[in-house]
């Protein structure tokens, strides 16, 4: 068993050990889903009527939809009436110091290079409010407010900025977009909201200092980011620390809107529980992420490093409506043991002179299955659209699978579409070469894999890239030989 799996298992046990589920929770609705549950969720969150209606509409449409089965993933049927759709945030067990935390977990944190204060929060250690990380957080919040940037939880945004929410919610991912997006629209619990005013360049990577806040977000998360004319924001989602969650089904929705000359860079590192060595108990991650380049010369860039979850179903996409707008997708998806990933992107060219780039790097190990699925669509009026796609697969061992499903729909003759795909095996020759020069097997694998992923890592903010490299090393430990 690899170290990372041990860590995860122990982490799992540690949750249990500390009586994670023994808390008495009065803020929980009974299992199951019906209109009444949707109304109650909305009421508990004190939402304005438009949002209650929007949720109900989504729920009614969802009832008429069927779960998609086209992805190349396999899982037992989900009983949607056996899920609790609303629970007030539970308190994590509080420890007095890191010495009380699971030593394996702490060791993983150290190897990932997570700062001590963050380690404490992630492990559930009580943190004094005067500690540095907290004051840093406050300082940044003040700085953002001065620039007119709104960065808050989705629930707060609903209360404080209902007009913005009303204007943009569902404008990119409609409440009936697909089965999981409709479910999310009906029952979403919370998430993040970002608004960057006209001409403002957000001076920091959003959520670098806040990511702990997002560590405990719920099962049906919703994110909405709006970049006004000429603004810029880089948003980081996720965490490299192993994340365990008692909710198996996750169906998040992310909507991005970039107006004229605006740029949104959205980076994700996802390391959710992938299940045990037999693949049991891992998280199902069914996410809808879409960005709208609404204005001319706008740009949306998705970068993702996916190492966790037992099933990943995720296609961060761009709708290039503004003329000269740019969409980018950079992805590293790692699957090991029995993990299954069906991920890729959709680039929809509508405006003239729009450009898109897709760089996808799949790494399969163990008995996992890793699929790239991508659609490049060029509409009738999208003159001079240009797409470049590169989809590479790296296989480690001979029991895993890599699949590529590129789709093209071109309705304009001036389009230029280039596609490159490679499949390679991590070579005994490469390993032997590096080891002959004195590198250990582990370091040799890391060097080869990091080289393979370099184009994607280059797109990540520096500190995130360093963590992502280490995370990859841990995810693939023991997967060769």
């Amino acid at each position: 068993m690899s170290d990372s799996m041990q860590t995860l298992e122990q982490h799992t046990q540690s949750d249990y050990k500390y009586g994670f589920s023994s808390e008495i929770d009065t803020e929980t609705l009974p299992k199951g889903l019906n209109e009444d549950v949707v109304r109650q969720i909305s009421a508990k969150k004190n939402e304005p009527p438009f949002l209650t209606e929007w949720r109900l509409e989504a729920f009614r449409k969802w009832q008429e939809m069927t779960e998609p089965h086209w992805p190349k993933v396999d899982y037992p049927a989900i009983d949607y009436q056996d899920i609790i759709y609303y629970a007030a945030p539970r308190k994590k067990p509080v420890l007095n110091s890191l010495d009380e935390a699971d030593p394996e977990l702490v060791r993983t944190f150290e190897r990932l290079g997570i700062p001590l204060e963050e380690q404490k929060i992630l492990a559930g250690v009580a943190v004094d409010a005067v500690l540095d990380s907290v004051s840093v957080k406050t300082t940044y919040k003040e700085k953002l407010a001065e620039l007119g940037i709104i960065f808050c939880s989705f629930s707060e945004a609903v209360q404080d900025h209902p007009d913005l929410v009303k204007k943009y919610l569902g404008s990119v991912v409609p409440n009936h977009d697909n089965y999981f997006a409709a479910l999310n629209a009906a029952v979403f619990s919370d998430g993040s909201f970002v608004y960057i005013p006209k001409g403002v360049r957000c001076p920091m990577e959003l959520s670098t200092y806040f990511r702990i806040n997002t560590a405990n977000t719920g099962q049906f998360e919703r994110t909405l980011i709006i970049a006004e004319e000429g603004s810029y924001v880089s948003y980081l989602e996720g965490c490299t620390a192993p994340m365990r969650d008692e909710n198996q089904l996750h169906a998040a929705v992310v909507e991005l809107i970039a107006l004229d000359h605006a740029e949104i860079k959205y980076s994700t590192v996802q390391n959710w529980y992938p299940g045990d060595k037999e693949g049991k108990g891992g998280i199902y991650n069914f996410v809808t992420k879409r960005g709208l380049c609404a204005g001319a010369y706008s740009k949306i860039s998705w970068t993702q490093v996916e190492t966790g979850s037992s099933i990943t179903w995720k296609y961060p996409s761009c709708i290039l409506r503004g003329d000269y707008s740019i969409g980018e997708f950079y992805s590293v998806a790692v699957t090991n043991n029995f993990q299954q990933a069906d991920t890729g992107t959709k680039m929809t060219h509508i405006g003239k002179n729009t450009r898109s780039t897709i760089i996808s790097k799949g790494i399969s190990a163990g008995r996992s299955n890793n699929s790239y699925r991508g659609l490049v669509k060029v509409g009738r009026k999208a003159d001079n659209a240009h797409n470049f796609s590169q989809c590479d697969s790296l296989l480690m061992g001979d029991r895993c699978g890599a699949h590529t499903f590129p789709y093209l729909e071109i309705e304009n003759n001036s389009a230029r579409v280039e596609h490159e795909a490679t499949t390679s095996k991590i070579g005994e020759d490469q390993l032997f070469y590096l080891q002959q020069r004195g590198l250990s097997e582990e370091d040799a694998i890391n060097m080869i894999v990091n080289g393979y992923c370099k184009e994607v890592f280059n797109e990540l903010p520096m500190e995130f890239a360093v963590e992502a490299q280490k995370l990859l090393a841990i995810s693939l430990e023991g997967s060769v030989g």
Binding site: G427, E428, D429, Q430, F432, Y433, L434, Q435, Q436, R437, G438, L439, S440, E441, D443, M447, I448, N450, G451, Y452, C453, K454, E455
Partner: protein, 254 residues
């Protein structure tokens, strides 16, 4: 330094080496020659620890250590260097990054401090210059898109940087033009020293015009069938391998 005794090796149940005996003392240069398929490259790879080769019998001692018991990287740390016949390409890994990691991995294994970035840069510049290479070379992905000559030159650079105790050159001369051949032989000659040994595996004599060996061994059907000094290589060039084969088969028939 190196004592090979009755070394027998199989690949996928087919016996390739049928009992090799060879002693290499510090500072010596041994050339291993022989027709195609005689087991020359197998010998080079077995010494470096390649997994596909199964040692069925025999021993190999390297500086009083049991070489066959050591992992590939441990052998490298002990001072064994293999210049590859076909150096592999590793996309996305810069040559510079690779060289730094290799040098520091070996230093760490020997209990020496890692070189700091300034020291490293100085060393890399010095050695690239020594080999007449442009520094821009260091920024390129390891061996990716390199010409045959550039790959071999890169092997020689690594040899110069890692300063092995025993360097094994596996048909390093194959496919090289005369200029590249000169670069390889200059590198070897510069590194020749009383405590460093070389095993030069080659099919042709021409490399030995530039690197003068102390001993020449002829490998045929998995055995060393003839040993001599540099004149043996010249004789092979003149007369080909047929007389060796005839001699060897006659000896076997007896």
């Amino acid at each position: 330094m190196l004592h090979i005794k009755d070394l027998q090796v199989s690949v996928e149940d087919q016996q390739i080496l049928r009992g090799i005996n060879l002693d290499v003392k510090p500072g010596e240069v041994h050339a291993i020659m022989g027709p195609n398929g005689s087991g020359k490259s197998t010998l080079a790879n077995v010494l470096a620890g390649r997994e596909e080769y199964e040692v069925t019998s025999g021993t190999v001692q390297f500086n009083q250590q049991d070489l066959l018991d050591m992992d590939v990287d441990e052998r490298a740390h002990a001072g064994i260097f293999l210049a590859f016949q076909y150096p592999v390409e590793i996309p996305g890994v810069s040559t510079m990054n690779f060289l730094k990691s290799a040098i520091n991995a070996q230093r760490t294994a020997r209990g020496e401090a890692e070189l700091n970035p300034m020291e490293m840069l100085k060393l890399l510049r010095e050695k690239t210059k020594l080999l007449g290479m442009d520094e821009s070379f260091l920024k390129r992905s390891l061996n990716e898109g390199f010409s045959g000559g550039e790959k071999k030159r890169n092997e020689m650079l690594q040899m110069a940087l890692l300063e092995p105790k025993l360097a094994i050159l596996d048909e390093t001369d194959s496919g090289l033009d005369i200029d590249a051949l000169k670069i390889v032989s200059d590198a070897v000659n510069q590194l020749r020293s009383p405590d460093r040994s070389f095993i030069i595996v080659t099919h042709y004599q021409r490399l030995l015009n530039y690197i003068v060996p102390d001993y020449v061994h002829v490998l045929y059907q998995g055995r060393i069938v003839k040993s001599g000094n540099k004149d043996l290589a010249l004789q092979l060039e003149d007369q080909g391998y047929d007389w060796i084969k005839a001699e060897a088969e006659a000896a076997l028939a007896q």
